[in-house]
């Protein structure tokens, strides 16, 4: 039972990284019908921005604001920087290609992914970088034999909070309604007076910004970051997006969390499950897609005539 709960908490933590990254994928896909392959690398970029802030002037930020204050400043700053980066990516790599159709757009996204990855390598170097231990709380405790770290709890709560906020913005506000309308049918939404540029601006700023914060939390959690880390998380988050139903905000959250839990429970219970867990998750993905081609809570999309 102890193992089960430990694995469950681990799964939730990993799952919340996936979910935050998946949100960005899903929002961009919903509005643009574009799989933003550069998204995973923006996540990695966020991780490096956070790292840079925390090691700046040998930990000045942590000295001024304390551990928790330093983390908050880092997260906030990363949110802004990666948000701006997301907008720049859209301006530089996607906007000029829109008229050419969807395929060139995907190629452009792949190119952007390679560009960001190599840019990170050129700036921060190919070696592992480690988040400084003074800047991250290292409190861990035991409840009923279950080992938990304070950081895990923080990541869980903070990610959930972010998801709730995004859910609220997208589902309950007027602007969210505009985003959803643009996702449903762009032309009609434009005709009804929705400023589509604003919506695009919004998804390309918020999606990467969330991913960037996930990157910072990932760096704090695992400590070691590397320039090519974005690829793997991008792939997993993309899987999560499809699992939950692409273009659907709650679906992305659900898909991410489910994926994380499945992975860690499988790795925990099956012999040499660690090596097979990716295979397992993809089998589950295929089965879900056979049963529900639009994902777990994806809406049925009517054929456009």
């Amino acid at each position: 039972m102890v193992i089960f709960f430990e694995q469950l908490i681990n799964g939730l933590t990993i799952g919340s990284f996936y979910a935050l990254v998946a949100l960005g994928y899903s929002m961009v896909y919903g509005v643009m019908k574009l799989i933003n392959f550069a998204h995973g690398d923006l996540f990695a970029f966020g991780s490096y921005v956070g790292y840079t802030i925390l090691v700046w002037n040998s930990g000045r930020i942590t000295q001024i604001f304390g551990i928790w204050g330093g983390m908050a400043v880092t997260l906030l700053f990363t949110f802004m920087v990666v948000g701006i980066a997301g907008i720049l990516v859209e301006k530089a790599a996607y906007r000029p290609v829109y008229p050419a159709g969807r395929l060139p757009l995907v190629v452009s996204a792949l190119g952007m992914s390679i560009f960001i990855q190599n840019g990170i390598m050129a700036v921060w170097g190919p070696r592992f970088q480690a988040y400084p231990s003074e800047s991250v709380p290292s409190v861990s405790f035991e409840i009923f034999g279950i080992h938990i770290t304070l950081l895990k709890i923080f990541i869980l709560i903070f990610s959930l909070l972010l998801m709730v906020i995004i859910y609220y913005i997208v589902e309950k506000t007027t602007f969210g309604a505009a985003v959803r309308a643009a996702a449903l049918d762009r032309e009609t939404a434009t005709m009804l007076g929705i400023d589509i540029r604003k919506v695009i601006f919004f998804v390309f700023a918020l999606g990467p910004a969330l991913g960037g914060m996930a990157g910072v939390m990932n760096g704090m959690y695992y400590r070691s970051i590397q320039f090519n880390m974005g690829w793997n998380y991008g792939l997993k988050a993309f899987t999560a997006t499809i699992l939950g139903g692409i273009g659907n905000i709650p679906g992305a959250m659900l898909g991410g969390i489910l994926l994380g839990i499945m992975e860690s429970l499988f790795a925990g219970y099956f012999p040499s499950g660690g090596a097979w867990k990716d295979g397992f998750t993809f089998i589950v993905l295929i089965l879900v897609l056979i049963w529900r081609p639009t994902g777990l809570i994806g809406e049925k999309i009517a054929e456009k005539v």
């Binding site: 694995q7 190919p126 592992f128 480690a130 290292s138 080992h147 400590r223 070691s224 660690g274 090596a275």
Partner: protein, 382 residues
């Protein structure tokens, strides 16, 4: 007509002069194949620094019979695919011989290519037994030790010196990691039969992942006395950190690809301190005439001495090659290979460099090291 002939002669003479000049000045080019980028980048970059300093020292003393040694570098990016590309690059540049590479599974495809193209290569960090034992390789050598001697060292140390009874062995299913784990098992066998020890956990993790909590929980539930991890440092750092956070307090022992500064960085100094390493002597504990000069030169240039033993073996690869070329008085691969096998006068940073018939280095000692409070390795006596 006459004029033409004359100018032709002048040109011919010029070419002759030029070519003879370049021959006299021509340097002996040695390739270094190392992981300059990728997961093991720190080991490749330090190797590059060490080999360059070794070349400087050699050239200061007149090079090879007056010809300076020149190093060209090929990056194998820590993976087998790029390793083959790097090897091809060096082969097409027609270097005299090659030093490299670091990882065993990375070295393997390159060693095959060098073998096929009759080019001497000297591995500096690849310790898997199979590299010299599974195939007959005429042109492959290594200046580092072999995994079986490390496995033997750990088995004896764990049972006889420390009295650890319940042993957990974890590897990463790659050539090197699995090799050390299997060799350790082999040498633990007699103790297991006598009932002096028990292997309670023997499993592999998947390299390049971030989350090892599942494997760690499994390991914890088997209640071992010691945790021997026989693979590379990036995963080792994560394992130590996640293991300690999951409440594993037993000694962590890493094999000789674990210790370096990046391991300490990833694990964090609070978790890295106290971890043990089965290890060839570290640069600072080597006491030979060359080591003093070399480490001094390295420190002057880079501020500190190398944080892992492997780059030193890369430099030793160069010392061995240079001596072999001198002995053979030839840059033909066959002559160099024969000279490598028979030479008894090669002095490297780690002492005398002698090779066996199969290309392994003779007489490499192992020791137990421990990370101290400052994150530096110290010899450990139980």
């Amino acid at each position: 007509m006459k004029n033409n002939k004359l100018s032709l002669m002048v040109i011919a003479l010029g070419i002759l002069l030029l070519s003879s000049l370049s021959w006299a000045e021509g340097s002996i080019v040695i390739g270094l194949q190392a992981p300059i980028t990728g997961d093991y980048a720190i080991e490749g970059q330090m190797a590059k620094q060490c080999v360059e300093i070794a070349a400087e020292l050699i050239n200061k003393e007149g090079g090879i019979n007056g010809q300076p040694v020149e190093i060209v570098i090929a990056d194998d990016a820590s993976n087998p695919k790029d390793s083959a590309l790097a090897a091809q690059k060096l082969i097409s540049q027609k270097v005299v011989a090659v030093i490299g590479s670091y990882g065993s599974s990375v070295t393997e495809p390159a060693a095959d290519l060098y073998e096929r193209n009759k080019m001497v290569s000297v591995g500096y960090g690849c310790t898997a037994v199979q590299l010299t034992m599974s195939k007959d390789r005429k042109f492959f050598f290594r200046t580092c030790g072999r995994d079986d001697s490390q496995g033997q060292f750990f088995a004896k140390f764990a049972v006889e010196s420390m009295g650890w009874k319940r042993i957990a062995i974890m590897h990463d299913n790659q050539t090197y990691g699995k090799g050390v784990a299997e060799e350790t098992m082999k040498y633990l066998e007699p103790y297991l039969k006598e009932g002096k020890a028990e292997v309670v956990y023997y499993d592999a993790i998947t390299p390049k992942e971030k989350d090892y909590s599942a494997a760690i929980t499994k390991l914890r539930e088997t209640q071992p006395d010691v945790w021997y991890y026989t693979a590379y440092y990036p995963e080792a750092g994560l394992l130590v950190r996640q293991g300690r956070e999951a409440g594993i307090t037993i000694p962590f022992v890493g094999s000789n690809a674990v210790p370096n500064d990046d391991f300490v960085k990833i694990a964090g100094i609070e978790y890295a301190k106290g971890t043990l390493m089965t290890q060839e002597p570290m640069p600072q504990d080597i006491n030979t005439p060359i080591s003093k000069v070399f480490l001094e030169a390295y420190r002057t240039k880079f501020g500190d001495i190398p944080s892992s033993p492997w780059p030193i073996y890369a430099a030793d690869g160069l010392f061995a090659l240079v001596q072999a070329i001198k002995n053979a008085n030839s840059t033909q691969s066959e002559d160099i290979a024969n000279a490598m096998r028979s030479m008894t006068n090669a002095e490297g940073i780690t002492g005398k460099i002698l090779f066996t018939e199969r290309g392994d280095r003779k007489d490499i000692p192992y020791a137990m090291y421990k990370y101290n409070e400052e994150g530096k390795l110290q010899l450990y006596q139980p």
